[in-house]
Amino acid sequence: MNAFSGFVIKEFKQIYRDRRTLLVLFGMPVIMVLLFGFAIRNEVSSARIAVLDHSKDEVTRSIIQQIAASGSFELAGYVTSYDEIEPLFRKGAIKEVVVFEANFERNLTRDGTANIQIITDATDPNLANLLQAYTSRIIQDYTTSLNQEEQIQQKAGIRPAVRMMYNPELRSVNLFVPGLIAVILMLISTLMTSISITREKEMGNMEILLVSPLKPYHIIIGKVLPYLVLSVVNVISILILADLVFGVPFEGSYILFFLQAMLFIVTALSLGVFISTVANNQQTAMMISLAGLLLPTVLLSGFIFPVASMPEVLQWISHVIPAKWFLIIVRDIMLKGSGLAFLWEETLILMGITLFFIGLSLKKFNVRLQ
């Protein structure tokens, strides 16, 4: 036990002595939360659009004005024919063109209907959808107020009353913070452990450790402990930021949250240990844990794209991504206030994945080097 505690102290010293790495390890998650928290939104802001107005009358002018004044759009200019649109789209100068038909006002007053065409650059389908929805809403608002002005009775009928449960304003920060916690923990824990163990191999210190009275699991635990502490501190700092700066709600129990976070950190650490048993040098270890894990963690965990939208096969694959389960747990605890009664399945799965990796690495951990 004495040798073990000595080893742990050595590991802590080695990491905490290196001020620069430490600064990076604590500072970067903070910067990331701040940067992404402020920058990544789902609302469109100042998208550049052009107008093709075949009519040029009172009504079209006031619609254009409302679109320009909405804050979501920036009127880049007017075009006079369809032929001018293509080059602008190709340059990427504009993302949408609003086309008014000829005699717009006359059609509207005489026949009661008029047509607007919204042409979008749909190379980005998501943006095209968003822009269309925004423009349609502005135009619909305009018609409603026009009809009210002229005191035309709106027909009664059914109206959907939508309530967004757990996240009423659909704030993206509320969704982003849990995701960011998952991604940061996954990568810090996995990357750092895998590198620090392979580093001993590469530098030749592993032999010294192996001939010492320390058992293999002592070595692993000693290597992993400092990062566990570090990750917990990171979780705490992200939570404080989320609360103080962004006002992200926290409905559930903090104790449950920290237990779950610990579990996930251990999952990530065990994955890191596993990678280090497969890789022989730092370069391989980090290519696996970075290039191999970054995109799958971001894409398959439901962090940005909903898992439910993916093809069946990918939904199956996403089951083996630990971050997916942790993300469900964190979102439920933070936004819904769910307790363990609702989350035991996800928790068990995470535990299962953890045990699997621990078992695998214990089996693969070589006591002898070639």
């Binding site: 620069r20 790495t21 970067m28 910067i31 940067l35 920058a39 789902n42 802001s45 990427g92 009661g112 209907t113 047509n115 607007i116 919204i118 650059d121 389908p125 943006l127 959808n129 968003l130 269309q132 018609t143 009809n147 035309i152 027909k155 009664a156 009928g157 059914i158 109206r159 959907p160 009353a161 939508v162 309530r163 967004m164 449960m165 996240n167 509320n174 969704l175 810090i188 590198i195 580093r199 890789a279 022989n280 730092q282 370069q283 391989t284 970075l290 290039a291 970054l294 995109l295 894409l299 398959l300 940005i304 794209f305 909903p306 439910a308 939208s309 990918l314 469900i328 439920d332 609702f342």
Partner: protein, 376 residues
């Protein structure tokens, strides 16, 4: 020249001798491109909802049938208790509760306003937005159908006087709003950049950590020769990956190649130099591979998330949109998409290419200067 050749030989040997690295460099990107491109979609698939039908009328049944027939919604749970329905939502068994009030049919026929309640699980915000827009459009359609029928019956002409502006959406370049076409070029860029940045970011610092940099320092190799010798192998690897990826995009995903392939390759060449120069720069300011990797990872995540790959640049606040001016990944992603999907040529992309070139030169000069042969 001879010196560089020997250096190159050494670097290539080192890379290809490491059998564990080869699959990581060439197989992993291809697999990720194949798999992950399908993951990046916002299309709504079948959603389970809990149904509270207090009306039990012809109309309410027609509305429910309309929901089910849309192919997007399945009534997975039926109840008359609001609490039970909300509990299902809490548990995550359903994503939405559809609550049809009693007297829906009577109110509609009498011309009174009626309200259908939708409670959507917004823990996953993007799905919630999709569910909202699909379900409200179903309800609106239903409303329009019914009010048409009712007017015809009652002969009322009131509603007809209301003015309507028809909105006709047209989607250019990608009429089916297909995500794959949009995502494949972007994901390919990220994969190639990761390999370029991580490999070059680790390289010099690795020699430093192991101590072999001293051996290189005492040789007559010049600074720029060393840097060139370090860069070319990774550049070649990056280009090979890119070409494999492009072939996959063309023949596997059937992405339209509207623009010129040569343009793409030239820009890719410049872009890879930029990425590697950034990597080299990281390598010269750090002391261990661990530090270098963490910084490289951080930069990569920022570049990816703010580069317009997954979320449009237009959906960020203006100050963040301005930051993309310094983001090489954003430039290359947008060039790839413009050239491949819209057929843009030199006139459209030349400013971006110029900026990329500028970035490459600056980072190269800075990192060559920072690397000093005499430092301990």
């Amino acid at each position: 020249m001879r010196t560089i050749r020997f250096l190159l030989q050494k670097e290539f040997l080192q890379i290809f001798r490491n059998k564990a690295m080869l699959p990581i460099l060439f197989v992993m990107p291809v697999v990720q491109l194949l798999v992950l491109s399908f993951a990046a979609t916002y299309q709504l698939k079948e959603v389970d909802f809990a149904l509270i039908d207090m009306d039990q009328s012809t109309y309410s049944r027609q509305l429910i049938a309309k929901f089910q027939a849309s192919g997007y919604f399945i009534a997975g749970y039926e109840t008359f208790s609001k609490e039970q329905a909300l509990e299902e939502l809490d548990k995550g068994n359903v994503k939405m509760v559809l609550h049809i009030p009693a007297d829906l049919q009577r109110d509609m026929i009498a011309g009174r306003p009626a309200e259908v309640q939708l409670s959507i699980d917004a823990v996953d915000g993007s799905t919630a937005g999709l569910i909202q827009s699909y379900s409200t459009s179903i309800i609106r359609d239903f409303d329009r159908e019914k009010s048409g029928e009712l007017q015809w019956v009652s002969g009322s002409r009131e509603a007809e006087q209301a003015k309507v502006i028809n909105i006709i959406p047209v989607n250019w370049y990608n009429p089916d709003l297909d995500y794959i076409t949009y995502m494949v070029p972007g994901i390919l860029v990220v994969l190639v950049s990761m390999i370029g940045l991580f490999l070059s970011g680790m390289n010099i610092v690795r020699e430093q950590e192991i101590g072999t940099i001293e051996q290189l320092n005492v040789t007559p190799i010049k600074k720029h020769q060393l840097i060139i010798g370090k860069l070319i192998p990774f550049w070649v690897i990056g280009m090979v990956d890119l070409v494999i990826g492009l072939a996959l995009a063309r023949y596997g995903f059937h992405i339209p190649f509207l623009g010129s392939l040569v343009t793409i390759l030239i820009v890719a060449g410049i872009y890879l130099i930029v990425v590697q120069a950034i990597g080299l720069f990281i390598s010269t300011v750090t002391h261990t591979q661990q530090q270098a990797m963490f910084i490289a990872w951080f930069i990569m995540v920022v570049f990816i998330l703010m580069g317009g790959l997954f979320t449009p640049v237009e959906s960020m606040p203006v100050w963040a949109q301005n930051l993309t001016a310094a983001n090489p990944v954003a430039y290359f992603i947008s060039i790839m998409r413009m050239v491949l999907l819209k057929g843009a040529g030199w006139p459209e992309i030349q400013t971006m290419v110029a900026v990329l070139t500028g970035m490459g030169i600056i980072f190269l000069i800075v990192s060559i200067n920072r690397y000093s042969k005499t430092s301990a």
